[in-house]
């Protein structure tokens, strides 16, 4: 279980996140939904340890991880734009986390992870030769391959065109559910958010305004902005 409590993040003396609290239960998928520039990506980066929290605490299974460096947190983060390693092929990209963990039989696990996203046999392909949709799936496989405790997806479908998005929303959801992962998905798209997640957290100007299921939010919006944004 992930618990974020009263998190403040300040970058270049500008407050980006203010007093953000969120709990994600085991096997739950929460979508953080908000307009661009509302601090959603920074929220994920703070949980991953890529940016430091000014105040507040982040706990995993009750233990504070605020002082654990990024590479020891054991979380997965799929970046907006994927951040695939340009000098490695598909298999090396997907196997990177396993290699860092010192695992055996990396090749077998890479092939398995590729099969989750329907890219069997893509291991030796070069990253640049892939289409946008294929790159998205490689990034997803790379994030899932080390079986992280928590999976974070930053605008997982943001860079793709509309038709592809509709298909990949369903696929991504399936992959996440089959793995029974705990996940946070960040997006600015309401439909994508509700299709991918069990619960929504609405973020605006660095603060979480309201959390709940889509129906609850539609029925009882906290304020006018929420009503308008999810309508």
């Amino acid at each position: 279980m992930l618990q974020v409590e009263n998190l403040d993040v300040v970058i270049d003396s500008k407050p980006i996140l203010e007093n953000v609290s969120l709990t994600v239960a085991d096997s739950e998928i929460v979508a953080v939904l908000g307009p661009s520039g509302s601090g959603k990506s920074t929220f994920l980066r703070a949980i991953a340890g890529l940016v430091e929290a000014a105040t507040g605490d982040i706990r995993w299974d009750g233990r504070s991880i605020a002082n654990v460096p990024t590479h020891r947190r054991g979380f997965g983060l799929m970046f907006q734009g994927y951040a695939l390693f340009p000098h490695m092929n598909v298999g090396e990209n997907v196997g990177f986390g396993l290699k860092m963990a010192g695992k055996d039989d990396i090749a077998g696990q890479v092939e398995e992870a590729l099969s989750w996203v329907g890219l069997e046999g893509f291991g030796s392909r070069q990253v640049e030769s892939l289409s946008g949709g294929e790159q998205q799936r490689v990034a997803l496989a790379r994030t899932l391959a080390p079986r992280p405790d928590l999976v974070m997806l930053d605008e997982p479908l943001g860079a793709l065109d509309r038709n592809l998005r509709q298909k990949l929303v369903t696929d991504t959801r399936e992959v996440l559910e089959e793995r029974d992962v705990t996940a946070i998905v960040v997006t600015h798209d309401r439909e994508e958010a509700s299709a991918l997640s069990d619960r929504l957290a609405l973020m605006r100007s660095g603060t979480i305004v309201q959390t709940g299921h889509l129906e609850e939010l539609l029925a009882h919006p906290a304020d006018e902005w929420v009503a308008e944004f999810i309508a």
Partner: protein, 516 residues
């Protein structure tokens, strides 16, 4: 909380020490020496400065204008049309540019054109046509054709479109190419030393004569200051111009090339073949004249004055390996600092490291003999040669490495960290593999530069450690057909070596990331 990042200090120290001792410190010594000479106002100094300065300026200006006129037809053809052999034509037109200046000089002597202003201008045009063709066509072929079509619809003739639209849009590329050509010809040394005889001297040649032949170091230093002012002025003008004309318009991502039809077809044919044939004449003359005697065999015979000329090939290769190692290590470390996330330091580094590019090779070599007697006298060691070559090559290594390092988004490193890589493993798995590939290209550039370097080498190479270019120059300076034939043969050897390395770079660039 400010911590000293010792990792950065370790990375930044070798470039700082190297550039500081071999470049910044000699430059200061030149300034001190030259300014005292200028303030004394020794008799005749002023008149000489004006005469040499004026010749340097006008020959550079005329060379630049002539280069544009000569490059115009081919630039038009490769920017507007797709035709068979287009890429090959571009590649062939680039050959003169990668040739060492002594080879170009020797080729024009082989044509029988020495000691004339015509030979100097022709050699400059020959050398620089590729700069104009490549720089301008890159932009020209990407102009959105709808802009030109819009002008046609509004009633502009084809000539109006070219004059009022295309040429205006091309101004940034034309300015870039013009300033590069101007800088190259303003600081031209090898070509003028070989083709100018005693009658024509640019600042570079005059610095060399005063320092090496007449041993008037203060006067040479004064000339070097004038040279520095001229070069910095040109660079400053260019950067100001770029700022002012930094207009952006929608460039097409791909190129807009048509197939030539009718009259255009004939035009393309004449433009391409005419340019290539003209460019081929000096080189083919050099090669064919070099095989008309036993000149190649003579390179292996011991000569009472210059020794065995073929030994210079060995010297050059040893120096090139040393210079390449030095330039690559220093350049890659410097590129790491420049692209690192440490604001001030990065910007300062970027600027300082580009300075050797703006300074001429002659000034670098001259600085060595003026300054490197402290703290110990290094001037007699042969290893000054690779140090000078490395200094000339470092900006090129940095320039070929920085874009690659910058093209790695910060998120790539973040992604590795999230996947469990410690800071050291991030460097080991991400930065090192990427930088070593770019470094390979930079290293090859350094190797080519070292092989052909003449300006700095002419100051620091000892007779016993002559490189190929200095040996060619010594052979050219001697009277007699055999000496000249040997110079031609050695030039062909140097051109061949250079071509081999350049071809290797080209293949590496197409094969690898392809992002240069």
């Amino acid at each position: 909380m400010k911590r000293i990042r010792w990792g950065w200090v370790a990375v930044a120290a070798p470039p700082v020490i190297f550039i500081g001792y071999f470049f910044v410190y000699p430059l200061i010594r030149i300034l001190v020496l030259g300014l005292s000479e200028l303030s004394v106002g020794a008799s005749g100094v002023e008149a000489r400065l004006i005469r040499v300065g004026w010749f340097t300026l006008w020959q550079a200006t005329v060379s630049t204008v002539l280069t544009f006129l000569a490059a115009g037809p081919l630039t038009w053809a490769v920017s507007s049309f797709e035709f068979k052999g287009r890429r090959l034509a571009m590649a062939l037109a680039t050959v003169p540019f990668v040739l060492p200046t002594v080879v170009v000089g020797t080729a024009f002597v082989a044509l029988g054109w020495q000691e004339s202003i015509g030979a100097i201008l022709a050699a400059h045009v020959f050398f620089n046509v590729a700069v104009v063709v490549r720089t301008v066509s890159t932009l020209w072929s990407r102009i959105d054709p709808r802009i030109q079509e819009a002008a046609r619809v509004l009633g502009a003739s084809e000539w109006d479109v070219f004059w009022r639209i295309t040429l205006r849009l091309l101004r940034p590329a034309i300015a870039a190419a013009a300033s590069i050509v101007f800088l190259f010809t303003f600081t031209s040394f090898g070509v003028i030393l070989i083709l100018g005889g005693f009658r024509y001297a640019t600042l570079e040649v005059e610095i060399y004569r005063q320092a090496v032949t007449l041993f008037d170091l203060p006067l040479a230093a004064a000339l070097a200051i004038v040279q520095l002012v001229g070069v910095s002025g040109a660079l400053y003008w260019y950067s100001r111009y770029q700022e002012r004309t930094a207009v952006s318009w929608t460039l097409e991502r791909g190129t807009n090339l048509r197939r030539p039809k009718g009259r255009a077809r004939t035009g393309v044919l004449f433009a391409t073949l005419g340019t290539l044939i003209a460019l081929a004449i000096p080189l083919s003359t050099l090669v064919s004249r070099s095989v008309t005697g036993t000149y190649y065999q003579a390179l292996f015979r011991d000569d009472p004055v210059v020794g065995v000329p073929a030994h210079s090939v060995l010297n050059s290769l040893v120096f090139a390996v040393a210079a390449t190692l030095l330039a690559t290590i220093i350049g890659v470390l410097a590129a790491t600092v420049i692209t690192g996330r440490s604001g001030e330091l990065s910007r300062w580094f970027d600027l300082t490291l580009m300075l050797p590019l703006g300074t001429s090779a002659v000034t670098i070599g001259f600085g060595f003999i003026v300054a490197l007697d402290w703290p110990v006298d290094l001037r007699a060691t042969r290893w000054l040669v690779p140090a000078a070559h490395a200094l000339v090559a470092i900006p090129f290594v940095v320039r070929s490495t920085v874009p690659t390092l910058r093209s790695v988004p910060a998120e790539t490193r973040d992604a590795a960290r999230v996947l469990g890589a410690s800071p050291f493993r991030v460097w080991r798995e991400i930065d090192l593999p990427i930088v070593s590939r770019a470094g390979m290209v930079g290293a090859a550039f350094a190797f080519v530069i070292s092989l052909g370097e003449f300006g700095a080498t002419s100051f620091v190479a000892r007779p016993a450690s002559a490189t190929i270019p200095t040996m060619i120059f010594r052979l050219l300076s001697r009277p007699g057909q055999t000496s000249f034939g040997m110079a031609m043969a050695l030039s062909v050897v140097l051109a061949g070596l250079t071509a081999a390395v350049v071809m290797a770079i080209d293949r590496a660039r197409f094969g690898e990331l392809g992002s240069f």
